[in-house]
Amino acid sequence: MSQTLFEKIWDAHLVKALPDGTFLIYIDRIFLHERTGSIALQSLAEDGRSVRHPEKVFCTMDHIVDTFPGRGDETVMPSGKDFIQATRKEAKNAGITLFDIGDENQGIAHVISPEQGIIQPGMTLVCPDSHTCTQGALGAAAWGIGSSEAEHAMATQTLRINKPKLMRVYFKGKLGTGVTAKDMILHLIGKYGAHGGAGHAIEFAGPAVRALSVEGRMTLCNMAVEFAAFTGLVASDEKTIDYLKSKAYAPSGAQWQQAVDYWRTLVTDDDAEFDEELIIDCDEIEPTVTWGTSPQHTCSIGGQVPALSSLANENARTAAKRALEYQGLSAGDAVLGLKIGNAFIGSCTNSRLEDLRYAAKILAGRKVAKGVKAICVPGSQQVKASAEKEGLDIIFKAAGFEWRESGCSMCFFAGGEHFGAKERVVSTSNRNFESRQGPATRTHLASPATVAASAVNGYISDPRDFLESGL
């Protein structure tokens, strides 16, 4: 029978269909971080339960840890140290692998899991973090869960879940110059709403997706949760296989070929059916930015904040009105030229080597506009080291960017560092919710290219003005 990629993965992990209509699904890998992992491990131990397969559980320090050079356990966030030290202790007791501060492989969970080859095609992976869907980019089913579910997964190596519906988002055509995976996903959410993918496992497909690098696919899948999806995924191909080759936790020796043979079967069959299918023509995608406080509040770089009357219903109008007040904008305002005080390049959406290269291409030989605070936080120590090998750090620093140690940093406000009230930030992260990057901070989501261009000009700018040869 014809099957979609997600169904193949689902069936391979189905332990048992339960009488109540849920399914017991086998979980291959569990990833934790110091923010909630400490609590999950602690609570598990308190209940007298142990981790069933410690070798399948990994943990990193990313959410709370400082990203300043020379950092240690102390954090700007009050009590951050308690989280870090509790996580270290619990990880040790549980016998799981920890990418600790100072480890050359430390970084944001969703950046290091692919980088280490921990996530592989066909796997199921869960993490108590909503952006776990990023890892679906490798042809896997990876999704975010709560802490109690993480405890459940660690204790039983399974989860009891409902089967999500299936959606395919097909990107046809080719991306234009200066248009990236980030613009694809912002465009999609803008067009169909932050609720457009609710309850679905979404396979991103089509020539424009195939043309993306594995890193670009991660950016695409990263924001599936901003589309309210259960998860997002992209079928693996030769690029995925190349990407995984000789990664630390990828199969090796004779097992490598065995794994690759299996991975090659993990594609959606020609006549497999989805519950829903959306088709996006890449010709219509331009560099895209958000103007409001929901990821659906987007417009193309040359566009304007919409008139409230143009919005679909009363709820959307009320939300947009509030968003505009929060953002200090009015209907009809052009996004292009909006003055910014801050630029942030980082987060599990856009902090990989390719992202930094895009930005550096624009920043090379240029300087950040006066008065703009600009920060670059590589997603992992490996990304940082590779970037430094290419001299990207020199470009960033010469342009006036701070060059940080890896972590989530100011993607979100944990109670420590933040941009400040009413500060306008153009950011490569994934959430523009109220106070996400600091109390009353105003966030505009965009691609690394758009953020770099905007940092240079001091106002929201079109990256294409800086790119002669295209990205």
């Binding site: 109540d20 009590s79 459940h152």
Partner: protein
């Protein structure tokens, strides 16, 4: 876990769409390595005048005397979207919230509710709007009643709505079951599955 069988209480309309978990419990309020001590941080950005103050914002609905002792929230679409933080549900539970009625929920949030004894009730927008209108004239008197066994929500003025819930979720809530314990009843199945699974995919055993 506290079972949920039947509950009636003050219901507060918070009908904004996309109320995310950052709004339910801002990150800065998650101070300790604990599931406890979070109730005070519930809706902190809206509930208090300044981010780090505890001075109540009189405009916020839960601070109004009419809505004291709220135990039910009437919400908008996509309630609990965003971050997976279970702290949002722990904070709601600690505050005393027993049920949330909304057209749709963030998927992870929904699961977290079930795991922590909060009943997520899915009703359509119109039904919620009429409930909201019904309670708003006198929230303390016009309470909302929810019967999980019957899958029914009723208002003081006699409006009644039935709702759907997965059988498994319903049972977990009705009996206050421990989810891990329930799954471990299938441990033999898990072991059998695992053995065969690893035979077919030896590269998934252990490191690489």
């Amino acid at each position: 876990m506290t079972p949920f069988v039947h509950h009636s209480g003050v219901a507060a309309p918070l009908l904004r769409i996309n109320i995310d978990t950052d709004a339910i419990i801002p990150s800065r309020e998650m101070r300790r390595v604990s599931k406890k001590g979070l109730g005070e941080g519930l809706f902190a950005s809206w509930r208090y005048v300044l981010p780090d103050s505890r001075e109540l914002n009189p405009d916020f609905i839960l601070n109004q005397p009419a809505y004291h002792n709220t135990t039910i929230i009437l919400g908008g679409n996509n309630f609990g979207c965003g971050s997976s933080r279970e702290h949002a549900v722990w904070a709601l539970a600690e505050y005393g919230i027993r049920a949330i009625v909304a057209p749709t929920f963030g998927a992870i949030f929904y699961q977290n509710c079930i795991r922590n004894g909060i009943l997520p009730v899915g009703l359509d927008t119109d039904a919620i709007a009429s409930l909201a209108q019904d309670v708003s004239t006198d929230p303390q008197q016009r309470q909302v009643a929810i019967d999980l066994a019957e899958q029914q929500v009723t208002s003081a003025s006699g409006l009644g709505f039935s709702f759907d819930i997965e059988a498994g979720h319903k049972e977990m809530l009705l009996k206050g079951l421990d989810s891990i314990g329930v799954s471990l009843q299938h441990i033999t199945d898990i072991q059998c599955f695992e053995k065969q699974y690893h035979q077919q995919r030896p590269w998934l055993l252990g490191r690489g």
